[in-house]
């Protein structure tokens, strides 16, 4: 039986002809520049070199994906057309399964394709003799989620034509990478898999064959976006309604707190004071900060992030916001005091360009801790 297999799922297209247990022809070509345009000429060239006609093929096989959207459509269309015109059977093979089928090992086999944006198409298989058992179905996933799934295996084999790009993400002592001769040319494996399945009695309906793009449904996307919305934040001026929430955050962060009355006075009476809150989409206050503006100088007198939201960069967003506020207000210098022991905060301020300019002994009333004085000189104005 003669099988012609075609794979256009990735940048490197391949086609192969299998005669029973002999691979009589195979052809790999990088087509990243012309989206699988040469797939048909590749097949023609191979057939003609073998002195075969398309009508000599008994079974067509095509890699159905996942992979490049355009590539999959081209490959599927070519294979279906050949099968239909010549009235021959066609079988579709998962691209990831074909990739994994190249590997002989008892370890879990992880074929991956780069889906960009930190995402991969991946599956996990285990070889038992001539068949692959599926440990994880092909899926589009975040690289991080794949790595999390893989922590359950001590060692595993990673294969695919993008592993050189993605290798750095994998733990060195766990992942074993296949080499170039196994990383593409999936048509060869697809031909073997298709022949085995055909001999085992498997058939597919030509008209129901479609590429497996593995795109997420719109419902799934909407759900995920909604989850993200919750974590989206905005910074605005503090109002009297925020005082209860701000007071709570303050209590978590400082041993010396302002009373609600003094916060109210700051907002209502102190013309020099400017307070900001950072809230999430649910309207929950996550952090706040404040500065006093005297002529062209501003002093950051307060900044705190709710305990359970710390370490997510919200404090830095507020600092950035206050700096741009100061720039817009033509302020020339921002000053602040920070506890000498608060290395983390000092480091963050330095990142924003603040410099240590002095020390105030016994500044903080609780335990008489020293304060480091820091300054940021601004060029002044919007147009710098």
């Amino acid at each position: 039986m003669r099988v012609l297999a075609l794979d256009t799922s990735t940048a490197i297209s391949s086609c192969a002809i299998l005669e029973d247990d002999l691979m009589v022809g195979s052809y790999d070509l990088n087509q990243s520049r012309n989206s699988s345009e040469s797939a048909v000429p590749m097949i023609e060239e191979m057939l003609s070199a073998l002195d075969l006609k398309i009508s000599d093929i008994d079974l067509f096989a095509v890699c159905k994906g996942p992979g490049s959207f355009t590539g999959l459509r081209i490959g599927m269309t070519i294979a279906k057309t050949f099968a239909q015109i010549n009235e021959k059977p066609i079988l579709s093979i998962s691209t990831l399964e074909a990739m994994a089928y190249c590997v002989f090992s008892d370890l879990p086999i992880v074929p991956i394709l780069d889906a960009r944006g930190g995402r991969v198409y991946a599956a996990i298989y285990k070889r038992s003799g001539k068949v692959l058992e599926t440990l994880m179905e092909p899926d589009l996933m975040q690289m991080d989620d794949l790595l999390l799934d893989l922590t359950q295996y001590k060692n595993y084999i990673v294969t695919g034509d993008s592993i050189s790009k993605l290798a750095t993400y994998f733990p060195k002592n766990q992942a074993i990478f296949t080499e170039a001769h196994l990383n593409n040319g999936n048509a060869r494996a697809a031909a073997v898999l298709a022949l085995r399945r055909y001999q085992a009695g498997e058939r597919e309906e030509l008209y129901s064959l479609v590429p497996a793009y593995l795109r997420k449904s719109q419902a799934q996307r909407d759900y995920e976006k909604k989850q993200q919305e919750v974590s989206r934040v905005l910074i605005r001026k503090m109002t009297l309604e925020d005082i209860d929430a701000v007071y709570e955050i303050q209590k978590q962060s400082f041993s010396l707190t302002w009373t609600k009355a003094s916060l109210t006075a700051e907002l209502e009476q102190n013309k020099l004071a400017h307070y900001f809150v950072l809230q999430n989409n649910m309207g929950e206050i996550i952090a706040y900060s404040g500065l006093w503006q005297v002529l062209d100088e501003a002093n950051i007198n307060n900044i705190a992030v709710a305990e359970h939201m710390q370490g997510k960069g919200y404090g830095q967003m507020l600092i950035r916001h206050m700096i741009s506020y100061a720039q817009e207000s033509k302020i020339a210098k921002i000053t602040l005091e920070v506890r000498r022991s608060n290395y983390k905060a000092i480091h963050v301020y330095e990142k924003f360009g603040f410099e240590r300019v002095g020390l105030r002994k016994n500044y903080y009333a609780d335990g008489n801790e020293d304060a480091i004085l820091m300054d940021l000189i601004l060029e002044g104005g919007l147009d710098d």
């Binding site: 959207f69 355009t70 960009r116 944006g117 995402r119 996307r221 976006k225 989206r232 950035r320 916001h321």
Partner: protein, 147 residues
């Protein structure tokens, strides 16, 4: 961060913004009809040596090659977000080069993370307010670089 820009200063502002862009960036240009979304993209294209950028409303996507390879998309005429599934949208939303998207809100659930969002508001006939939203790390980097 807001920038109030006169029509005569638009190319200068486009240049100031564009010089911080790099391959892989996806920029959503938001604003009403007539706000100047396409005009803004045209100005950036000119900087990269590409003239003749037109609104892709009918084609949905146009691709260009200049100092950068870039895509310009406009989803105004989509009636349903899922219509985008007839396109190779992964290539445009996770580009090798740079992508500009108009009416991205029509396909919101398909948009990638890490977008740079620019809002354009009409102030008067000759003036627009450009707002770069601090909504992603890339946007923050650009805001910082521009200030």
């Amino acid at each position: 961060m807001d920038y109030i820009i006169k029509r005569t200063d638009l190319s200068e502002f486009a240049k100031k913004f564009a010089e911080h862009l790099k391959d892989g960036d996806v920029i959503c240009v938001n604003g009403d009809l007539g706000a100047g979304k396409t005009t803004f993209v045209q100005e950036i294209a000119k900087i990269w040596g590409v003239d003749g950028v037109t609104s892709p409303t009918f084609a949905l996507v146009e691709s260009y090659s200049g100092a950068f390879d870039f895509y310009h998309m406009d989803f105004y005429r989509l009636e349903d977000a899922s219509e985008i599934e007839t396109l190779d949208y992964e290539s445009f939303f996770y580009p090798d080069g740079i992508s500009f998207i108009e009416w991205g809100e029509r396909v919101e659930s398909y948009l990638p993370e890490g977008l740079i969002q620019i809002d354009i508001q009409i102030v008067d006939l000759e003036t627009r307010r450009f707002t770069i939203q601090p909504s992603s790390d890339r946007a923050l980097e650009i805001l910082e670089a521009m200030s």
